[in-house]
């Protein structure tokens, strides 16, 4: 296993380098003048000097590798340029919005994983009876509804008609509270901050705003996890040791929960990386629909306003984040499943 982890760590710089080259190559597809925004540190720069001298200054007509070298050394220091959409440098804008997205993603993971696994186990236990068919049809339909359609319908019904779950991140009164001097923002995650400040009203308001986006994300991934859990559970339930347990007279409930489910979950871990990938992409749509001011919404509005600096900075950021998450997933997989270490 040590070898496996070392190998993964050795490849890591190669992948990181590759992703940065890929992002930079996409940046090079636009002209030097449009690329300027990814180099400057404030819009005042554009007003004081003329554009030609700025292009000259940042060497935007130099050969690819020279420009890449200059760009990556800036990126390593955290210089991604100026974002017109956010009215701030890209780094500032990302840091400011990161907690919101983290809060949404973490909160979504719980119902996604628990719901998906339980549905999958349920479906496998009821293999080929009506319940199995109902859950499977539900999952295929759930997988086929685009997030932006489902999200809009959720918004229309749960906010428009019922008025339960408003869009945005916090109500006006609640954001006034968290910005006030008595309220200490320890983590910038509103739920945790609210608990730490013993202000349950803020916690309640934060949760109220999170329910609809979390629900819209969940429906899609339930289908995905259900599918994998179900087929791996079906396979496990046919194993000899399950038959042994049953013939010893172990209760069916215990067989399913204690003996089968644990082993059936191993393949689910392998797709966790894939899921995070899709989840990050899905956040772009979900946050946009529910007006939730996180990284996803920032990315979408930057893209529609051709804010190259922000779009590419975020792409790189998402890429690095994903590589690290995948590394964690692979290592934990090697720890959970002893068989993989032998390879």
């Amino acid at each position: 296993m040590i070898n496996y982890i070392i190998r993964r760590l050795l490849i890591l710089p190669v992948i990181l380098f590759g992703v940065s080259v890929l992002v930079f190559a996409m940046l090079m597809l636009v002209g030097p003048y449009q690329r300027l925004s990814t180099y400057i540190k404030s819009p005042a720069e554009l007003k004081t000097a003329n554009l030609d001298s700025l292009v000259e200054k940042y060497g935007l007509n130099d050969p690819f590798h020279q420009q890449y070298g200059r760009w990556i050394s800036g990126v390593l220091k955290g210089d991604f340029g100026w974002s017109e959409t956010a009215g701030a440098t890209v780094t500032e804008a990302v840091l400011q919005r990161f907690p919101a997205t983290l809060e949404l993603a973490l909160l979504a993971l719980i119902p996604v994983i628990m719901g998906g696994i339980n549905l999958g186990v349920f479906s496998a236990v009821h293999h080929n009876d009506p319940w199995d068919h109902v859950t499977r049809v539900f999952s295929i339909v759930g997988w086929s509804i685009p997030t932006f359609v489902f999200g809009l319908v959720v918004l229309m019904i749960f906010y428009g008609v019922l008025g339960w779950f408003p869009p945005g991140r916090l109500s006006v009164w609640a954001s006034d509270i968290i910005r006030s001097s008595e309220f200490v923002q320890y983590t910038h995650l509103n739920i945790i901050d609210g608990l730490l400040n013993a202000n349950l009203k803020v916690v309640g308001d934060a949760i109220r705003h999170l329910v609809a986006p979390v629900f819209s994300i969940s429906i899609l991934w339930w289908a995905y996890i259900l599918r994998i859990t179900r087929s791996s559970m079906l396979e496990t339930l046919r194993k000899d040791y399950i038959r042994t347990a049953r013939s010893k007279g172990v209760k069916e409930r215990v067989v399913v929960k204690k003996h089968a489910r644990k082993n059936a979950l191993i393949p689910v871990v392998t797709v966790a990386g894939h899921m995070v990938l899709g989840l990050l992409g899905g956040l772009v749509i979900t946050e946009t629909i529910f007006g939730y001011q996180g990284l996803g919404q920032f990315f979408a509005s930057a893209a529609s306003q051709l804010d190259y600096a922000a779009v590419l900075g975020l792409a790189l950021y998402f890429g690095f984040l994903l590589i690290l998450i995948n590394l964690c997933v692979d290592v934990s997989y090697a720890i959970i499943d002893p068989r993989i270490r032998l390879e």
């Binding site: 490849i11 190669v14 992948i15 590759g18 992703v19 890929l22 992002v23 996409m26 940046l27 597809l29 636009v30 295929i140 339909v141 997988w143 086929s144 509804i145 685009p146 997030t147 932006f148 359609v149 809009l152 319908v153 918004l155 229309m156 906010y159 428009g160 008609v161 087929s231 079906l234 396979e235 990938l277 899709g278 990050l280 992409g281 899905g282 772009v284 749509i285 946009t288 629909i289 990315f299 979408a300 893209a303 529609s304 051709l306 190259y308 779009v311 590419l312 975020l314 792409a315 998402f318 890429g319 994903l322 590589i323 995948n326």
Partner: protein, 292 residues
């Protein structure tokens, strides 16, 4: 399993039969679009005709049976011609990216060693960005338009096929019949074409069928976010983006503009559902683990 056997199983399976019917339904709509919804100007049939200039959507009536959307775009027309857009984007993107994936996966597994290592690391690099994010970045840079959307989707859409193909070929490479062909002096090209590809193609076909749905969803997501199809182009994602400003209705009548999201939403969901139904049934038929 042979082709004929798989086909018979697909037609016997109720789930896949339903999927096939829905696909056929959409094919008919796409083929007969000029008759179902005659274009106002035959030179540019993909531009949705407008029934006026007022921004507020109007409910279904005799002239516009699904109503009109924001800025008076006819919803029925947009859905009918949007079917063609969906097929075009889906088939072209899935076709080209599957071809690239098969080529890279096969070469990688067949030759192994350094070739494999380099190709798989390149695949990893392309896989390191969320698909939707990468597609949005490239489309933003190339500019609005369906062609650029397709280029972006192909650029970041071939990796899963490549990985799948690679594992398939690795498995089959050690089979005796491949070794036998090699011993008989068959060329690499002949072995790949005749012995390897024919025996590994089914999982790739399932993958392609499932991807038809997700590619069409991603393409319309781009249009929904305003970086995909040009304004007024018959595209389901764009039809739904027209409904965004009206989704909460008016005071006291939240569902007033339901038709702006429901009709295009049903169209895109049914389209994706049909491909997923076929792909799902296909997978069950071919999965030896699920056979009793």
């Amino acid at each position: 399993m042979e082709w004929q056997e798989v086909l018979i199983n697909l037609l016997r399976n109720k789930i896949s039969l339903l999927g096939i019917f829905i696909i056929l339904f959409f094919v008919i709509i796409a083929v007969f679009a000029p008759w179902i919804a005659p274009p106002a100007s035959p030179r540019d049939p993909y531009m949705i005709p407008r029934a006026g200039w007022s921004p507020q959507p109007k409910p279904p009536n005799e002239e516009h049976i699904f109503g009109t959307s924001e800025n008076q775009y006819d919803i029925f027309y947009g859905i009918i011609w949007g079917t063609r857009t969906a097929f075009r984007v889906g088939l072209i993107v899935v076709g080209i990216s599957t071809f690239i994936g098969i080529t890279i996966g096969t070469i990688s597994a067949f030759y192994g060693g350094m070739v494999d290592e380099v190709m798989m690391r390149v695949t990893d690099i392309f896989l390191s960005m969320p698909f939707l994010v990468a597609a949005i970045v490239l489309t933003t840079i190339l500019g609005k338009g369906l062609d650029n959307v397709m280029i972006a989707l192909v650029t970041f859409g071939w990796m899963s096929t490549a990985r799948l193909m690679r594992s398939q070929v690795l498995e089959i490479k050690t089979e005796e019949f491949v070794e036998a062909a090699e011993a008989l002096g068959a060329s690499d090209m002949r072995i790949i074409m005749r012995h390897v590809l024919l025996n590994t193609i089914f999982p790739v076909v399932i993958n392609a069928s499932m991807r038809m749905g997700s590619i069409v969803i991603t393409a319309s997501s781009l249009s929904f976010l305003g970086v995909g199809a040009p304004t007024g182009y018959a595209d389901w994602g764009q039809m739904i983006s027209f409904s965004r400003n009206w989704i909460l209705g008016t005071q006291g009548n939240a569902l007033q503009f339901w038709y702006t999201v429901v009709f295009p939403g049903v169209a895109i969901t049914l389209f994706c559902l049909s491909w997923n139904l076929v792909g799902d049934a296909f997978r069950d038929i071919l999965d030896p683990k699920l056979q009793n």
